[in-house]
Symmetry: D2
Subunit: 456 residues, 4 copies
Amino acid sequence: MSTSASQNIPPIALPFVSERAKKLLDVVERFVHEECIPADPVFFSQVGTGDARWHGHPSIIDELKKKARTLGMWNMFLPKNHYKNGPQFTNLEYALMAEYLGKSTIASEACNCSPPDTGNMEVFARYGSPAQKDQWLKPLMEGEIRSAFLMTEPNIASSDGSNIQLRIERRGDYYLLNGSKTWASGTGDERCKVYLVMGKTNPDHPDQYRRQSIILVPSDTPGMKIHRMLSVYGYDDAPHGHGQITFTNVKVPLDALILGEGRGFEIMQGRLGPGRIHHAMRAIGAAEYALEWLINRLNDERKKPFGKRLSEHGVLLEWVAKSRIEIDASRLIVLNAAIKIDQMDAKFALKEIAAAKIKVPQVALEVVDRAIQVHGALGVGQDTPLASMWAHLRTLRIADGPDEAHLQQLGRRENKQRKDEVKRRLAQQQAKTEFLFHSMGVDRKELGAAKFNAKL
Amino acid sequence: MSTSASQNIPPIALPFVSERAKKLLDVVERFVHEECIPADPVFFSQVGTGDARWHGHPSIIDELKKKARTLGMWNMFLPKNHYKNGPQFTNLEYALMAEYLGKSTIASEACNCSPPDTGNMEVFARYGSPAQKDQWLKPLMEGEIRSAFLMTEPNIASSDGSNIQLRIERRGDYYLLNGSKTWASGTGDERCKVYLVMGKTNPDHPDQYRRQSIILVPSDTPGMKIHRMLSVYGYDDAPHGHGQITFTNVKVPLDALILGEGRGFEIMQGRLGPGRIHHAMRAIGAAEYALEWLINRLNDERKKPFGKRLSEHGVLLEWVAKSRIEIDASRLIVLNAAIKIDQMDAKFALKEIAAAKIKVPQVALEVVDRAIQVHGALGVGQDTPLASMWAHLRTLRIADGPDEAHLQQLGRRENKQRKDEVKRRLAQQQAKTEFLFHSMGVDRKELGAAKFNAKL
Amino acid sequence: MSTSASQNIPPIALPFVSERAKKLLDVVERFVHEECIPADPVFFSQVGTGDARWHGHPSIIDELKKKARTLGMWNMFLPKNHYKNGPQFTNLEYALMAEYLGKSTIASEACNCSPPDTGNMEVFARYGSPAQKDQWLKPLMEGEIRSAFLMTEPNIASSDGSNIQLRIERRGDYYLLNGSKTWASGTGDERCKVYLVMGKTNPDHPDQYRRQSIILVPSDTPGMKIHRMLSVYGYDDAPHGHGQITFTNVKVPLDALILGEGRGFEIMQGRLGPGRIHHAMRAIGAAEYALEWLINRLNDERKKPFGKRLSEHGVLLEWVAKSRIEIDASRLIVLNAAIKIDQMDAKFALKEIAAAKIKVPQVALEVVDRAIQVHGALGVGQDTPLASMWAHLRTLRIADGPDEAHLQQLGRRENKQRKDEVKRRLAQQQAKTEFLFHSMGVDRKELGAAKFNAKL
Amino acid sequence: MSTSASQNIPPIALPFVSERAKKLLDVVERFVHEECIPADPVFFSQVGTGDARWHGHPSIIDELKKKARTLGMWNMFLPKNHYKNGPQFTNLEYALMAEYLGKSTIASEACNCSPPDTGNMEVFARYGSPAQKDQWLKPLMEGEIRSAFLMTEPNIASSDGSNIQLRIERRGDYYLLNGSKTWASGTGDERCKVYLVMGKTNPDHPDQYRRQSIILVPSDTPGMKIHRMLSVYGYDDAPHGHGQITFTNVKVPLDALILGEGRGFEIMQGRLGPGRIHHAMRAIGAAEYALEWLINRLNDERKKPFGKRLSEHGVLLEWVAKSRIEIDASRLIVLNAAIKIDQMDAKFALKEIAAAKIKVPQVALEVVDRAIQVHGALGVGQDTPLASMWAHLRTLRIADGPDEAHLQQLGRRENKQRKDEVKRRLAQQQAKTEFLFHSMGVDRKELGAAKFNAKL
């Protein structure tokens, strides 16, 4: 018998989930299972073919948005400790919902919870001026417009934000922007009305993390040129898209700067924590969904290679078990990180967030790859969501810095934080051991010493 | 700056830990760090060499036991829901303590929390008759005697308990035991006074899991012969030891049976759940301790291969990070399982316990192996606890059934429990998709269909 | 300094390579590096967008074919032991060339060495009637037409060929075909003029591997309908394409059958061996090419995350080393298999071919994935060949049966072939040991036996 | 049916093996299978218990040596290109024999082919003075004495030989040695009569690889003290042993220096190449032997967990297959390296030797670990050779430098050797692509460009 989402919350997380959140979680689950997943193929067909893919957007998304809002599923991502007028859920509570949203391509957008809008709305909510909130946060929260966050640049090591080249120069009463951006996700969509652009205002500041600022640029500002869209393993992600854009003498008024000059890093850091939790939980949802496809395939009566149903093949059962274990472990890591963000703040949960950022996509990719493998050729094609899911999960190992950069930072931090204590303690323990041998009058028993000491 | 054990409890677990448990946890931490770890090498030297290793036991263990008891660290493993007269901690609370006990070879015994006594005491507490409790549980809880659990037999697949061969035949007013047991851990120790022996009383019972019983056999009962001790890699684990024993017409009174004929499996199942949590948490403690050795080595000023300190080598920092992530994920899995046992019972937490049983030893082995590798030859020898730690952790992938058996069961159970729901839901989703295409008047966009359909 | 392809042949393989083959190998290397790789992006641009992608084919391929033929690179795959009129290279010699062809999308076709034509030509050469050779083999060898091999069907376990459903019924002087095929690679191309179709002629034959036949169907035969093309992770592979096709009362003359009724499996087996070698060596070439991109990236002066060039990051150097080791090991496996095919026949090299089939794609996928990872977002997009390469290599773990089926067969065969010898030998060795103890008068030293035996 | 060792040589290696070598290979195979493996347990029992383990050596080894010599199996390791008076086999030919020797603990010594004597004899043969050869090489080649190679020191990073601290100071007509050595393998054996000691004669030489020398020290020289023996995962390896030794004003005559001052590194490099091939091939033999135990266990009629024989469990068959593939791949790597050493010299085969050094132990460890796992508790104990085999193979990942150091060197070398060529070629290819677009008048097709270019 099937259990509801709220009944499947790991016992260890239950004390952190309000009754109100449990109820909405079950609504989200049904909405995703009964409305969004079935609508995904319709969405893709509505996108169309050829150049038409970049014009307009599928009508089904608007219908789902209406339904979602009616059912109370709207902007759930806005954490209660940062925004008083949102739906008042904690990061932990939204994390549980985000898992379900991650099972469908369009569910997040249907609930106005899709990146990069979520992170951008958080930026507006935490750091925006009243005028900025009025102009951009309001329509974003209403789901009327969309937005983009432009950080990555071509030809630099994007894992290290201090490398950013785009120049934001103050010229009297405006800023002048010159440079180029790539992988600007969402810029293909005609509803995308505003870009949050990271650039350098203070290239000579002695602190390399105080040189950057974030500035708002309406998408129809002259001087910006979208050259093309980038693909993800053959998927163009229309109409959303990932654009490559150049800025040539783009003029923006002074009050378009968020928070002030040199505060770009600070904003970005605040933006990343919860966003990584969202990404991670959606990835877990994708992994769960892939596991469903895997189980479905194992029990397909028509598939009996070598006389046995797939579910009787031990190797495949081991895949189910390993997937189960690793998905569950990953979820606990993310939920624990979310709780730490709720209790303290993202900056006190860097280790936990990094662990989630690194581990979850690897687990999810492996589960999805297993599901693809049991489907054979069907798995790599367009008739299951698996191949597309894999391709998009794969980008999570790169986005916001590659795994390797995060592993280095995590390892370096752990080493730095613990080395003095560890060295001191091991030394003390060894000294105490020596003391014990001495005080107790016990001889160290050394291998072969009886013979070799006698000899000499 | 160093933080105490209670401050390091993952936030997600905190609601389940009483203040009293936090206080004792910090006492345990200090005891292990300051008393037990330094005493480990003394213990090994006191064991002696050659045949002397099997006579008596190191005096340092008795001193530590006294200290531990004085400080309130005694029998903490006995879960409050099963035993009213114990120290009243939950499985979750003890799990946190067991992690620290796992850092030292002798800490568990010092607190009277070492296997197989712990599981045996649980058996007595849950299933023993008043007389059995009086005779055996009392001295066990006082730490006056030790015990063994004899299940594994030579030449059968021990992962499947239904294979057990040792016969327990009723003959009038006694039982007659014939057969052989191996890997009887603890039987080398002269303090080991009682064996819990699993055997077949009802070999013809139609239910293959009702054929076994567990019976108590005092270690000096005539007819039992210990042939030799078995080693773990090159370690003999004296004086504890792992014995190979034959039973030849061993007579035991009728009231030596626990709970009744045919209830051996039931007892064993109840025994395994918490025991696996203990093993897993001790393994996590071992992994944390190995990580400390690893970090200590990375910061050894004398080690600068190729001009860089080890802590500047990226590959080794990645080891630190990966160890950190996987240890933390493993701990959450185990704690979540412990909570489920506390809230329901072990039999409702089979999936969670199995996950812990499978994942934790693999993670711990990998962390310890990394610590060995950075120590070079030093790591495989006797001057660090690492090689011995690895060898003993390795047995956890085999004990109580090999990983592969648990993976099969876990995979099979997951598949069985979920297949109907999953198949139904995917089918419903696909039907709903068809309905949407139809009702919305949208055509499925098929790749190349424009051309190829036109052609025909 | 750079060395030529013939100088890079592993010393162990050199005795098997003629001077003539070495010379052509160097020609192939230069052709691929200087003509084909640069032409790949032109090819993709010429394919066009939208429906145009399925009409015609890029002109650049015709130019490359002309050049290749002039330079003597034509049909090199045809093994000298099966076809007297080909270019007379061994499987080993062609394998070395195929590695280079695998670095470019279009190089194989440029040399008339691209699948599925290669396998189909081998079928015609080995099993075709003179008339069949005249009608189809001749234009195929001239590169005037292309062909497809239709085996996979929807909704059956394709790893087990005995499941095939398409019916080939004899009706007087023709065969009637009914059924459906999917993943029919090459059917998108207008130059594809003939299909080799696997179906069941003798569904009731007691030997399940004698029920299938292969029959030739011209691509314009009435009754066949291509419904759509299938994608590989978002890539449509136009104009080649992977078609889904139904057969409704398709009539084919009796002499369209190859070799005779019930011999489909035999033909397919003969076809697979060399084809798997080709696939494997092309995959190795792809891996080598990805490693070049990886090295190129490591030495990009513009990429200095955290102040160090990528080539100074130890983790990435380890990737280079591991890639080097595994690519080299894989190549030796494939070359050894090719030699065995040359010396005996594919059916005596099943173990070696299976090893290559399983190991090479996994190694290549890992190397390409590493190259993607160091390129960050650039790696998943269209500006390097890496993402497309990965997606297509991924299908090799599925095509001709999933890895898991091959691993089972390989494991089962190894177990079956060796178990009797192994059991016998180990038993004999143990008996000999007993004899030695006895004859030499040596006692078995058993751990702890001195004490425990004394006690009893 | 069983095939002989010479029939199992991979086809690709056959051209390099003389008929004479094939014949002896078959003799070696039978000797190992029929004499040595059965004698291994006798050897261990003869070693005895307690301190007796370090006195004398088992008589069975002397008997086997006699047999081996009679059968022509003596000093086969001495490569024909370095020693005219040896048995005249190539490194490749001996490698094939070494694989079989690796299946038994005592087979190598029985054929006078056991390390560290082999490497030491090579040193004497290549670099020794006539007097040194007469005094030491002669009795070593006769198997009358044994020897040790003292390089590793406590408390330094042994992966980087330039760190060596032991001082060798010239004082008039003798050298004075002060310092300490550890992991001096073989120093436990009373037959070990000479140590080759690496130390610093020229600590101030500007070239850090010209500071070291190797000097001969008879094992009874005053001033040396063996403090104890080191264990390997609990195994003491008596009577061979791994000693920790201090040197206090040890006097050695001037002519005890090999080759000359400052040439220690040169000698060590020449010594390592073939030695690594030997280690690797013995490890492959160990892996093959473990695979035999694995297969034996899978077919044990008494083992039927959950009603199926182990050989019917798919996961275990996959282990057989993966073991088969990786062992075979590893062997080809080593044989190819051996051929390169034979044709050129070890210093031209650094990449190939490093690959073997890194990959083979990892593969062997995994195969042995699988064999242990299927044996359950039996696998970690003393009743199979598996646990001991694993422990000793594990040291190969550390000995002569840890894997990580070799991976860094291999990665660095590959990167250095190839980066210029690779960068140049990719740049040329990209330039050629641009040229083709231009010359052919083809436009680059860019995703979405039609729309976005039109807009602006």
